[in-house]
């Protein structure tokens, strides 16, 4: 029997993404039984928070704790805008987005490369066809706003997911700008310098935390850029299940780049046993590319976020590793 027919869940998730053929409805059902109650409780708490502190300009310890437990869907667009500082930026340049779109002519090369990627952005999302023009607007506006970056493949997934969540072109533009310029600067620029640096930092963290896993990955010969480039470039968009990505992004907007490393390390810590069980490079590559990005561990967004914060990771360690990695990138 088809798994969906026995499940109360549709084969399309609430964001319009088709669930994979191997989606584990039973496990998901078990997880959601508890999680739905949590979501309702959390929504009531957030209502109270937003009444007390509507501008959210200060992320204090309590707010941070709440954000780590997940921002309720309906509040996400505004909360993301406020906690990231994107709303304040927008206030300083309220006409920027529209004026970028009113440019007489766009750079043809940039426009073409964005257009090529539109039909292949979330082709399995049932609502996304109607959003393609808006996605084009966001990407072309940003490419002309920031010529150092222009259009980098991968930004289509970030902007696309922002658009799905916010349903607002302009907010998506400001949040995209915040990610590219403040969270992960120089990942998407022409030389991708900081991406290579941070992949080297990430490898070093794995060596320090899980030396046996690193040895295994090295022995089988799968380079870290193959494993993790997309994780870092897309901040897990189009990598992990949507709800898990959004929970990660909640924390990214509140706490910054360190969260990206936490999430990447959590991928290793939660899958340590299965990574070690892969006995050749092909199995390992398949594991990273197909299996561990959609299994029950990452679908349980709550458990995954908890494992991210169970890790010991200090900003000072990242910063000192970055200094070394600049000299010796991945």
């Amino acid at each position: 029997m088809d798994a969906t027919t026995s499940s109360k869940f549709s084969d399309v998730d609430e964001y319009g993404f088709k669930r994979g053929q191997n989606f584990d409805y039973n496990n998901y059902s078990k997880f959601m039984d508890g999680y739905l109650k949590t979501l309702t409780r959390r929504r009531m708490k957030w209502e109270a928070i937003l009444q007390q502190n509507p501008d959210l300009s200060q992320v204090d310890a309590k707010l941070k704790r709440y954000i780590r437990k997940g921002i309720p869907g309906p509040y996400r667009p505004d909360v993301w805008m406020k906690i990231s500082g994107a709303a304040a930026e927008q206030k300083r340049a309220p006409n920027l987005y529209r004026s970028l779109l009113n440019t007489e002519t766009f750079d043809k090369e940039i426009s073409d490369s964005i257009s090529i990627d539109l039909p292949r952005t979330f082709p399995d999302n049932i609502h996304f066809d109607t959003k393609k023009q808006r996605l084009y607007n966001i990407l072309i506006a940003y490419a002309h706003h920031n010529r150092d970056v222009g259009y980098c493949q991968g930004l289509n997934y970030i902007a696309g997911l922002l658009l799905i969540v916010t349903e607002d072109e302009e907010k998506s533009f400001w949040l995209l700008k915040h990610i590219v310029e403040n969270i992960v600067p120089q990942y998407h620029s022409h030389n991708m310098a900081n991406l290579l640096r941070d992949l080297a930092v990430f490898r070093e963290l794995v060596i320090r935390r899980f030396p046996a896993v690193n040895r295994h990955v090295d022995n089988l010969g799968l380079p870290y850029p193959v494993i993790a480039s997309k994780w870092f470039i897309c901040i897990f968009a189009e990598v992990l299940p949507v709800e898990t990505v959004l929970r990660i992004w909640d924390c990214v907007f509140a706490e910054g780049y360190k969260i990206v490393f936490r999430a990447a390390l959590a991928m290793f810590v939660t899958h340590k046993t299965s990574i070690l069980a892969c006995d050749d490079i092909a199995a390992l590559a398949t594991h990273f590319r197909d299996i561990m990005i959609q299994d029950s561990i990452v679908t349980d967004c709550h458990g995954f976020i908890e494992s991210m914060f169970a890790l010991r990771l200090k900003r000072s360690e990242l910063e000192s590793l970055r200094k070394v990695a600049v000299l010796n990138p991945a």
């Binding site: 490369s113 090529i116 990627d117 039909p119 292949r120 952005t121 082709p123 980098c152 493949q153 991968g154 289509n156 998407h188 620029s189 022409h190 030389n191 991708m192 290579l196 090295d218 022995n219 010969g221 799968l222 380079p223 850029p225 193959v226 993790a228 480039s229 997309k230 470039i233 897309c234 189009e238 006995d279 050749d280 490079i281 092909a282 590559a285 590319r289």
Partner: protein, 218 residues
């Protein structure tokens, strides 16, 4: 169980057939796909490895790794395929994948003149930077759309001949020449003497391990 030496180059070994009646040599080769964005690199790999085609294949971010095994005569050839991102800025990652590769497929789109020029640039870079004995194939992809081509078959063929490349027009969509181009590469690669170990390994520690390989010859 058959074993394949993994030294970052091809080696020869023996592979027992399932019925145990005869033996095959087995080799393993590292192959990299290069070419401009959206010419169909990932689609060629998907067609070759899984026999599938997606009209809207997602763009490759970083790189992907896949394997496929084919047989020619009495030899089992396993390809380790490194599929790279095409966008220019991902170029800085490319040497990591073509270093130590014994074969490369440089792909262009027959509807796109720029992608053909880009392919030529890749060929030059491979001649300069990759292993000296690397086998390079040029693939003019999207041959199913040959009625709206801008890159002429003869032009590409002549360029390939002048530069010592294998050349085929392919279609990941219909499957045309996809297996053939990998097969042609496999035929051209040295399989007996393990002499093609030059170029080193992209494995960080380059160690050797034996491991089982599937036997596809029945």
């Amino acid at each position: 169980m058959a074993t394949t030496p993994r030294s970052g180059g091809a080696g020869s070994g023996t592979a027992q057939r399932p019925n145990g009646t005869s033996q095959n040599k087995s080799c393993q080769f590292k192959l990299v796909l290069l070419g401009e964005s959206a010419v169909g690199k990932s689609s060629l790999v998907l067609r070759f490895v899984k026999g599938q085609f997606h009209e809207y294949q997602e763009s490759t971010i970083g790189a992907a790794f896949l394997t496929q095994t084919i047989c020619i005569e009495d030899t089992v050839v396993k390809f380790e395929i490194w599929d790279t991102a095409g966008q220019e800025r991902y170029h800085s990652l490319a040497p990591m994948y073509y270093r130590g590769a014994q074969a490369a497929i440089v792909v262009y789109d027959i509807q796109n003149q720029d992608s053909f020029q880009r392919a030529k640039t890749w060929v030059k870079e491979l001649h300069k930077q990759a292993s000296p004995n690397i086998v390079i194939a040029l693939a003019g992809n999207k041959a199913d759309l040959s009625n709206i081509r801008v890159v002429e078959f003869d032009e590409a063929k002549q360029y390939a001949e002048e530069n010592g490349l294998l050349f085929m027009e392919t279609s990941a969509k219909t499957g045309m020449n996809v297996n053939d181009i990998f097969l042609a590469i496999a035929k051209k690669l040295p399989k007996n003497d393990g002499a093609n170990n030059q170029g080193g390994s992209i494995r960080p520690n380059g160690n050797e391990t034996n491991r089982p390989t599937n036997n596809c010859c029945k």
